[in-house]
């Protein structure tokens, strides 16, 4: 294990290299520009390919091409750019192609702003593009997790032959923290992909495709995809708990909002309020099992987000109506302070007692 001080966006780039990714395609957009900048330097060093494409649309389709040819491949962007990529993500899900897509979210809608936000939760978790498909969505909350989740994302993408999204935000991408890098990190060989289109020498032809003009065939294809998504729900829920053992007010937050919520839990505890934090590390599949467990002693939930409360409905579904679900959030790139979240916990505590 070695330790490096790294910027979040750089950690994503380095983790991709370590995961055996040798193809990156992207288009500049703040606040994720350090990822293409880092990889434009690193990819040539390891014999990889870096292309700054003419658009986000071109980038995701280059990803489609490289993935079809069997490579581990990544693209990254921020909110408006991800909107442009969603068509391609749907095609990849339909064609069962693995890829890693990183979204360092900024404020929206529209051109929005460039400050960190979490307003793309619905887009990431509920689909984004057209058709019945899902992508695993990983929600890192530190530079360390940006590194380890990026590596994990490549493995999950290959395991399920499906795009995987890393949902970060501008703050995570820009901050610097220590990262522990396993010494065996370098050059993970990508797995064999007999389904890839590499030229048909010694075998019959391969077709990478999402078009099924016969509705019955398309339904069969969809059933197969849905079975795969069900396996993801069974196996890939990830979450972390903090001070939940005896908590009465359970905060639920991910990413940057979770870091603030954690601080607020400590503040509340210092004021003798039994608060705890449940932090989803996968937003899809949402960690319903973990949430029910974490909420064992809770009297109420408080969802904290940098959005209008997009995760609230998943928390409500997860808690199955057993507890009231409250919400505190800021929008537009305003990051809530520990103080204002603590005040919200205190207010809620007052309501409960």
């Amino acid at each position: 294990m070695k330790t490096r001080l790294m910027k979040g966006n750089d950690a994503v780039g380095e983790a991709a290299i370590a995961a055996g990714c040798r193809h990156y395609y992207g288009y500049p957009i703040t606040p994720q520009n350090e990822i293409p900048e880092y990889l434009s330097k690193r990819m040539p060093e390891v014999g990889g390919v870096f292309i700054q494409s003419e658009s986000e649309v071109a980038a995701i389709n280059m990803v489609y091409g490289s993935s079809s040819a069997g490579a581990r491949v990544m693209t990254s962007s921020s909110s408006p750019g991800i909107s442009l990529k969603t068509e391609g993500i749907s095609y990849m899900a339909g064609s069962e192609l693995p890829a890693v897509i990183v979204n360092m979210m900024r404020g929206g809608p529209g051109l929005g702003g460039i400050q960190p936000a979490q307003g793309d939760y619905f887009q990431a978790v509920k689909g984004g593009g057209h058709g019945d498909y899902r992508t695993i969505v990983l929600a890192p909350a530190s530079v360390q997790e940006l590194y380890s989740f990026t590596r994990l994302a490549f493995d999950l993408a290959d395991l399920y032959r499906n795009p995987v999204m890393i949902l970060g935000d501008g703050l995570l991408g820009q901050m610097m923290e220590e990262v522990e890098i396993p010494v065996d990190a370098a050059d993970t060989p990508p797995p064999e992909k007999p389904w890839a289109a590499t030229g048909c020498r010694g075998r019959s032809k391969v077709i990478i495709n999402s078009l099924y003009l016969d509705p019955h065939q398309l339904e069969v294809h969809n059933r197969k995809l849905q079975e795969k998504f069900s396996r993801m729900v069974e196996r890939e829920q990830r979450s972390q708990e903090y001070r939940t053992r005896d908590c009465e007010i359970l905060l639920v937050a991910y990413g940057t909002a979770a870091r603030i919520a954690r601080g607020a839990v400590d503040e509340a505890r210092a004021q003798n309020i039994k608060a705890g934090l449940f932090r989803p590390q996968t937003l899809w599949p949402f960690p319903n099992g973990g949430l029910l467990e974490a909420a064992g002693t809770a009297k109420a939930l408080l969802v904290v987000e940098m959005s209008a409360g997009q995760m609230v409905e998943d928390v409500k579904l997860g808690i199955e109506g057993r507890l009231p679900v409250h919400f505190y959030g800021r929008m537009g790139g305003v990051v809530p302070s520990v103080g204002e979240v603590t005040a919200e916990i205190r207010r809620l505590e007052g309501e409960l007692s």
Binding site: Y25, V57, A58, Y64, K205, I208, S210
Partner: protein
Amino acid sequence: MKIVAKRPESLTSKDFHYCPGCTHGIIHRLVAETIDELGLRESAVGIAPVGCSVLAYEYFNLDMLQASHGRAPAVATGVKRVLPDCAVFTYQGDGDLAAIGLSEVVHAALRGENITIIFVNNAIYGMTGGQIAPTTLMGQVTTTSPGGREVGMSGNPIKVCEMLATQQGPAYLSRVSVHSPAHVRRAKKAIRKAFEMQMQKKGFSLVEILSTCPTNWGMDPLSSLDWLEEEMLPMYPLGEFRRPGG
């Protein structure tokens, strides 16, 4: 018995779905013969577009990808950058390449991406029922230019080879036609040259092939061939717009 003509190895035995008189079938065959002759079938990856040739992946007997509308050059870029020794080609119509996908083909050309683009120009959207295309001629009647193409509503037609020839990136640009046996033979030569350039790692090659669409032009197949010669050739002159060493 000596076999003098047979289906190219690079075509499957599946029947084409193309309309009677449509020249897509000829162009498919020319591409397949070329791939056979150059011994590339087992190292080729083709990209089918959205449009009439969306099902090209069923007809070419080699590894095939289906791409989203207009993005085939970007997809081909992604494939080629993983498999630099494979013969990577796209097969695109005029709506796919010259309307929705114009950015992708231009930038692939500017990068000198070492891929081959087969660009079928029949001056109309075929698959969706005969709407105006970027290559539709002035005055040409389509289902979305019912009074004939005029600038005020639909702008001017695009000359893709001429436009790309103004740039440094492309290595080979040629416009050919398939309206007569002699032209079919010349088209084959251009396609072969494009693939040869790619295998010699010379960079971006594009062959624009003028093609007929009797169904959506509202003509019988023979009249379509005449219309191509009389109406399309003056607008889209044949020739090499960028050639090896030129």
